[in-house]
Every structure is written in structure tokens, then in C-alpha cells.
Symmetry: C2
Subunit: 313 residues, 2 copies
């Protein structure tokens, strides 16, 4: 039996389940460098979603996982009953960013306990209406999805690695999700098309109604059968660490979507804008540091500021 982490959760209804990596990062940016950072797609996505809704985390950590990190999850009110603790070391990643804060070089990746990870959803997660499949192998993403009973909206993130090495599983996954997020070069790699609208058209035929092309500091584009929408990024004064920005964007989006009464194009656009704002906070410091220092009020204030920045009436 897998051991899962105890949490003093008060039987809250889980509205969003997030699966992804949980890691200990060492990161160097032009601004600074830090080691022993709490990282991983699930960490960023859960923290971001937690501003809006009850989120449950599915992932694995090793026996070396610092109690302080666990306490931080608790502080964000993240439900940890889907978080496994396995014998061995936690996943580790180290990277160095170029001056442009976009391109990065991986120094090392240690899978550690992640190597044998098999996600298992606690009973109370299986009826969650929203599922966020963070950027891990399509096989693991599918395993999570197969345990969800009747999800209303599923978002999946992916990357070039899986497009190149697990295309078949990835295609199976894509056929089962409502929204796929990827960047422009990944969209081109996946479809063989250059024009991004055509890329989105091709992917939409495979299943997902919504395609989000992520453009980092330049925001994102939502492509649907009804048109293209621009999701602007809040112009951050000083980016300290862009790690996890895409995960925060997705997590903030799904969190905001959880509080919408109906899921339609307008709700999705609004929620994507909220996700963009949460991500803009995230990059202002390393790890979850900045997100740990803000509240929903800060998010709302910046959301209004961003809306004013694109008001042309």
C-alpha cells in the first residue's frame, strides 16, 4: 500500500484535482540563484488554484521532503490526501536561465521517487468536476483521468519531450481533454503545421474544444472554433524567476473556472485572464514565495488593473 500524507482536512468537497511533478529545484536566473526550492508543476498549479477553490494534489515526494514544504502546502489549504510519500529522494531539477529569462538550460534532472510513481486518486477526488493534468508523461496523465468519474472540464499541459517520445499515448490523452495548453513551437511540432490557427484547427479535430498557445511574458492565445482570443500578460516590473509560470497560469485558470456558474467561452476567457494574473505574481520571486505573500484581494486588484490596460472605450 502506498502511504499518503495525513492532512487535517475538514472533509471539504474537492473541486479541482491537480496531478503533476513535485520537486526540489536549484535555479539560476540573471537576477539571482537559489537552491532547495519547492518546485514542480503540481506545486505551482495547486498554490495558484488555491486562491479560488478547494484543490487536491496528486503526486509523490520522497522521505527527504522537508516538513516546511508540507506546511506551506497546508498554508495554501491544498488537500494532500492524494500526495504519496515514497521511500527515496524527491524529484530534483536544476536549471539556468538566459538573460532573456525565456530560454533555459537544464543542468540536471533526477527523477528519484517519480520514476515509479503511479498516481492514485483518493475516493473523494474521483468526483471532482475539474481535472488539471500538469506536464508529466501522457501515460500518467491518462491514469489519473481514467479514475475520474465524470469530469466537467479537463485541461492538459504537455511539452516537446512527450510529443517526441510518447506521441501515441499523447494522442490518446488529447482525444479525452477539453483544453490543451502548449507553446507555439510545441503546437507546430505536434501538428506539422506552421500557422498557429491551423495548428489549433488540427488539434481541435483530435478532441479538445479549446487550445491555449502560451507565449510567456507576452501572454497567451485561446483558439476555439468560434474565434481567437488574446490573453494579455500583466507587465511585471521585475521577473525574478519564470519557473512554473505556465503551471501557475493553468492552476489559476482552473481555480477561477471552479467558481464560475457555467462553463462557456466567456467564463473560460475570464478565468484565463485570472490565471494570467496569478502567474504574473508567481514570477516576481522564486518558488511559491510571492504567492505565499499575496491574497485574493491582490489578485483582484491586479486583475482590474490589467482590464484597464486593455480598455479601449
Amino acid at each position: 500500500m502506498k502511504k499518503t500524507m495525513n492532512t487535517s482536512r475538514k472533509n471539504r468537497k474537492i473541486c479541482l484535482v491537480v496531478v503533476g511533478s513535485i520537486g526540489i529545484d536549484a535555479i539560476k536566473t540573471p537576477a539571482d540563484q537559489k537552491a532547495n526550492l519547492l518546485g514542480g508543476s503540481a506545486s505551482y498549479a495547486c498554490a495558484s488554484a488555491s486562491f479560488f477553490t478547494n484543490v487536491g494534489m496528486v503526486g509523490v515526494v520522497g522521505t527527504d521532503f522537508p516538513p516546511a514544504f508540507e506546511e506551506l502546502y497546508e498554508k495554501f489549504n491544498i488537500d494532500l490526501s492524494g500526495l504519496q510519500k515514497a521511500e527515496g529522494r524527491t524529484f530534483r531539477w536544476s536549471g539556468v536561465y538566459d538573460a532573456d529569462m525565456i530560454n533555459r538550460r537544464t543542468i540536471f534532472t533526477e527523477l528519484n521517487v517519480f520514476e515509479k510513481f503511479s498516481p492514485e486518486l483518493p475516493e473523494e477526488y474521483c468526483s471532482s468536476p475539474l481535472i488539471l493534468l500538469g506536464n508529466i508523461s501522457p501515460e500518467l496523465q491518462l491514469r489519473v483521468l481514467s479514475q475520474a468519474k465524470a469530469p466537467k472540464f479537463v485541461i492538459a499541459d504537455t511539452m516537446d519531450l512527450w510529443i517526441n517520445t510518447s506521441r501515441k499515448k499523447l494522442m490518446e490523452l488529447i482525444s479525452k481533454v477539453n483544453m490543451l495548453t502548449l507553446n507555439d513551437s510545441e503546437a507546430r511540432l505536434l501538428t506539422g503545421e506552421y500557422n498557429l490557427r491551423k495548428c489549433a484547427e488540427v488539434i481541435r479535430k483530435w478532441g479538445p474544444e479549446y487550445i491555449v498557445i502560451k507565449k510567456g511574458e507576452h501572454g497567451a492565445m485561446l483558439m476555439t472554433g468560434r474565434g481567437v482570443f488574446i490573453i494579455p500578460a500583466y507587465p511585471v516590473d521585475e521577473v525574478k524567476d519564470p519557473t512554473g509560470a505556465g503551471d501557475s497560469f493553468a492552476g489559476g485558470f482552473m481555480g477561477a473556472l471552479a467558481v464560475e456558474r457555467v462553463i462557456n467561452d466567456n467564463a473560460i476567457k475570464r478565468s484565463l485572464l485570472a490565471g494570467s494574473v496569478v502567474a504574473s505574481f508567481g514570477v516576481e520571486d522564486f518558488s511559491l514565495n510571492r504567492m505565499n505573500a499575496i491574497s485574493r484581494l491582490d489578485i483582484n486588484a491586479r486583475l482590474n488593473e490589467l482590464k484597464n490596460m486593455i480598455d479601449f472605450n
Copy 2:
């Protein structure tokens, strides 16, 4: 006496004067390559402004300037009484774009008749309320400005070359304009600051109330003392040639501003959005080809489309 080109202009009031380069370009992009193209900052800016207002062009061409290009200017209803024809060859430029359609390499630049160019405003241009100083040397930009009697709004574009070689003249120019446009690296080079808001603050202290940071396919940002505004770019399906996009943006902006009843922040934001839309058409083909194929109606339609793309209500 300088010879200027005859035009059958019906004594229209000139609302916008544009000075800039007029060239014959040879351009290679990943999409295609073409020679003997009508180019230059004044060509793009005047054509773009012409959709909205009466624009007069100040520049110089050689005796080899093809009559077909002159006819095209006439077709755009551009007033040519400020356009000099000098003995010799027209300015020529050749460039090759990288796959990203952003970075480009200059193959050659021949100044030709531009070398001895001294802009002279016809009498009827001197009272124009709007002046667009395209990207030429600050010395020439200042010479145009000194002939304007009481301009209401002056925009100037510049580039790294002038920042590096004519900083003193450029600073004098900057102190006299209402809006300066430049890209992020130029803003940093000019001010020595990294953070773009700080760059804008520094430049604003030198004179201009409005700073526009151009970001190519990602749009632009307007920085004022009252806040930052995002000018999105229309997502073009296929960029064929990005040459002149910044000039079209500035020209379309000033043209749209000419039809605003008052010049305030809202009018400026609206006009910048219009400029962004005109520029998005421009890059869909080489030279002025695409602009020659559209009307104000096409611009309005795309403007509405772009507004819908950023509507989050």
C-alpha cells in the same frame, strides 16, 4: 532650388506631415524574396495614415524613382508637394529575415540621394497639427520640426544607430516631442535602465508625455504618467514581410488620431489600436501590396475583431 514632385492635389488641408526614408528594397523572408520593392519609413507611414486623413510626405527620391511608385502614392491620396526629386539614385536597402521573422540582417544600404537630403516643408505643411518624424537622423527630424508652426502632437521614432551616434541631437529632439516610439532594447540602451517602466519614467522626464514600447508581433505598450496600457497585435495568419510594421503602426496611429476630436489618453489608446490593426495588414504582403488591396472598411472590421479578442466581460 530643390525640385519637388507635381501632384494634382486639390488644395486639401494637410492634417499630418510625415518625414522619413523612401527607398527601393530587396527583401528575403522565410516566405519569399522580392526585389525592387517600394519601401522606406515614409512610404509605410503615409500609406497607413492615408486611410484616415490627409497626409503630406516629406522625403527625397532619385531620378530613377519608378513612375509606378509615384502613381501608387497618388492612389493612396498622399500629398507629394513635400517630396523632393534629386539627381541621382534613390535610397536602397536590402535585408534578410531569420526564420523568426524578427531578427534581420542588412545586406546593403545605399544612401544615394538621401545623403544630401535636407527636408523642406511646403508652406501648407507648416500649419499641420500632427507631425510624424519617421526613423531618420535626429538632425533631419529636428529640421522638420523647426519648420512646423504650432504642432498639436508630434511623434518620433528612433533606433539604436542614432542612440549610439547622435545622442546629443536625439536628446534635443526627445525634449520636443509628445510621443517617442522605440523597442525594448532601444529603451534600455537609451536610458541605461533595464525595467521598462523605469525606462519610460526616465524618458518622460526628458519631455515626451507618451512612450510606446514596440514589441513586434506581440503588440506594444503605452507608458504614461497615468499608467501602462497594452496595445495587442492582431494575430496574423501568415506574416510575409514584417518590414515597415513599426512605421505602419505609427502612421496608422497618427492618421486615426487626426480624426479624434480631442487628444487625450483615451483617444491615444484608441488610435494606437487602429495603428496596430493597419500594421497587421501591412505585414501580410511585401511592400504596400496588402495595404493597396484594402479599404477603411477592412480596417474597421479587423478593429472590431481585435476588440472582441480582448473583451473579458
